[in-house]
Amino acid sequence: MSWFAVSPVELDALRLSLWVALVAVALSLPLAVAVAYVLARCRFWGHGLLNALVHLPLVLPPVVTGYLLLVVFGRKGTLGPALDALGLQLAFTSAGAALAAAVMAFPLIVRAIRLALEAVDPRLEEAAGTLGASPFKVFAFVTLPLILPGLIAGAVVGFAKALGEFGATITFVSNIPGETQTLASAIYAVLQVPGQEAAVGRMIALSLILSFGALMLSEILARKMVRR
């Protein structure tokens, strides 16, 4: 077997990693915009608490986050019966892997969008209001286009984070080949067995290509924005 021949297990891990990262970003983006908007624009009691809660996965040991996900979303967890009734199982499934990745990426996405929102001149939004734009239209036609670079940056950073998520994922959904084994957990698995240097090398190369590609993409998009 040549060094470059990617095995079906590795291919599965790659495919799953991409799917998990995409779903995680797609699901957290709208919520992240909403939370970032509230954090950037609203002053209310509990503002600091919400901010801390959003950033918690960033500072908590990932294994703790994974455990808490089990406690809340596991079959016997707080929301387990409710999810069961919906026919949805998260613990030890690929959907759960996406959830774990989303939770871990969320603070990074919120941060990027919040910074972009804080850079928007509220006087432009005020001017749009005097031109007849309702608050929703102001958001859709003024705020959103202005934060687009931040939104994209947040999405790319979130994607990269979701791609590499390991601790919370392996705690919440384990490491089942073909079902929950992402690239990171596959690397971890082969590292446990001696004599798998070729497989480790290939997967690390894949990780590098993916992460580097994501960074390049964000750079290109950012430049396009500036040129406009």
């Binding site: 006087r123 005020e126 001017a127 005097t130 031109l131």
Partner: protein, 355 residues
């Protein structure tokens, strides 16, 4: 079409009390900084909430409506153009957001403000004056029932100001909506105003037509002695045969003006500051000044300062002159007296001559 305002609001320690009716045309809101002019405009546009009172446009009460449902166009001190849109995009934005079709068509606004060459530029590529013209066009295209202009020229240098003023004069002459115009520049006020509202410490203290307010001695404490003076409207006549200088006819006589670029028959208005008029009890002889009018003293007003404001009438035009108290006593000025007013032809600021 008119704007009826009677409201009160309090912000922190500042309170604003406004009671004004603004008819179609330009109503200039004049006062020192901190007198509440901007808050006044923001309240009309719905950007500040009033505590009590009413804001009525064309008979409909808009007091409770949010800013975006008021149809009050607003030109801020800075242009506030959308940086992610081109000039055309900014103008179309207003058309799209405004709930009704603007009175002026897109092409009319482009022509009025000469925006044709700017349409494909981004806001970053505009000069301050151009950006403010685009912002004005944008406000017009949002189909406003009233326009609020908040010191739109204050961020521009003197030269640019005089390039924008003619656009504002044209706008005034071509729309029938009320325009509220905040400024603290007497020359701008004299050129644009049809009506004046004087603000002092959060209150509208005096309001009325421009000719009446500017030649009213009672308004001088609020205007300041430098801003007090007569605004005369008249028509450009044939040049003076002996001197070749331009002549403007008004109700009460004729004025000889230097450097008048307007052509014959044009309607113009000029401002004569009260401190630029010299008074005499007898008809002066052998004088270099070209403009001498005979008038009757209608009001004498001694202020707190060393000056006395003398209002006199020539034809139907009321003039205001400022002399020292010493001169007033020495000359024995009294109501109903006949006096002669001397105005130097070079006293007129050519840039202060409006249409």
């Amino acid at each position: 079409m008119s704007l009826d305002l009677d409201f009160h609001l309090t912000r922190g320690g500042f309170s604003l009390q406004v009671q004004v009716t603004a008819p179609a045309g330009v109503t200039v809101i004049f006062g020192p900084s901190g007198s509440g002019k901007t808050t006044f405009l923001r309240a009309v546009a719905g950007l500040e909430q009033v505590d009590r009172g009413k804001i009525v446009i064309e008979g409909s009460d808009i007091t409770e409506r949010p800013a975006y449902r008021r149809a009050v166009g607003y030109l801020f001190q800075e242009p506030r153009l959308m940086p992610h849109l081109t000039v055309l995009g900014n103008l179309k934005f207003a058309q799209k957001m405004g709930r009704q079709v603007a009175r002026q068509s897109f092409d009319e606004v482009i022509a009025l403000l000469e925006l044709g060459d700017l349409l494909n530029r981004t806001p970053f590529a505009l000069s301050g004056g151009e950006a403010q013209r685009v912002a004005l066009g944008r406000a017009l295209l949002s189909a406003p029932k009233c326009l609020c202009l908040d010191e739109p020229l204050s961020a521009l240098d003197q030269g640019l100001k005089h390039r924008i003023l003619p656009y504002l004069e044209r706008l005034r002459d071509r729309t029938e909506i009320p325009i509220l115009y905040v400024t603290h520049d007497p020359a701008e006020m004299a050129r644009l105003a049809d009506h004046i509202v004087l603000m002092q410490a959060g209150r509208s203290v005096l309001s009325g037509p421009v000719e009446a307010i500017l030649s009213d001695p009672a308004a001088v404490p609020y205007l300041g002695v430098r801003a007090a003076g007569t605004v005369i409207s008249g028509q450009v006549m044939a040049p003076d045969p002996t001197t070749g200088l331009a002549v403007m006819g008004f109700d009460g006589g004729r004025l000889i003006l230097p450097e008048l670029s307007q052509s014959k028959g044009r309607h113009i208005r000029i401002r004569i500051p009260a401190q630029d008029i010299v008074l005499a009890r007898e008809k002066p002889k052998g004088l270099s000044a070209l403009n001498v009018f005979e008038g009757t003293i209608t009001q004498l007003h001694a202020g707190q300062g060393p000056g006395v404001m003398v209002q006199f009438k020539t034809g139907k035009t009321l003039f205001l002159a400022r002399v020292t108290q010493y001169s007033a006593q020495n000359m024995g000025l009294a109501l109903g007296q006949t006096i002669f007013a001397i105005v130097k032809a070079t006293a007129f600021d050519p840039a202060g001559i409006g249409t």
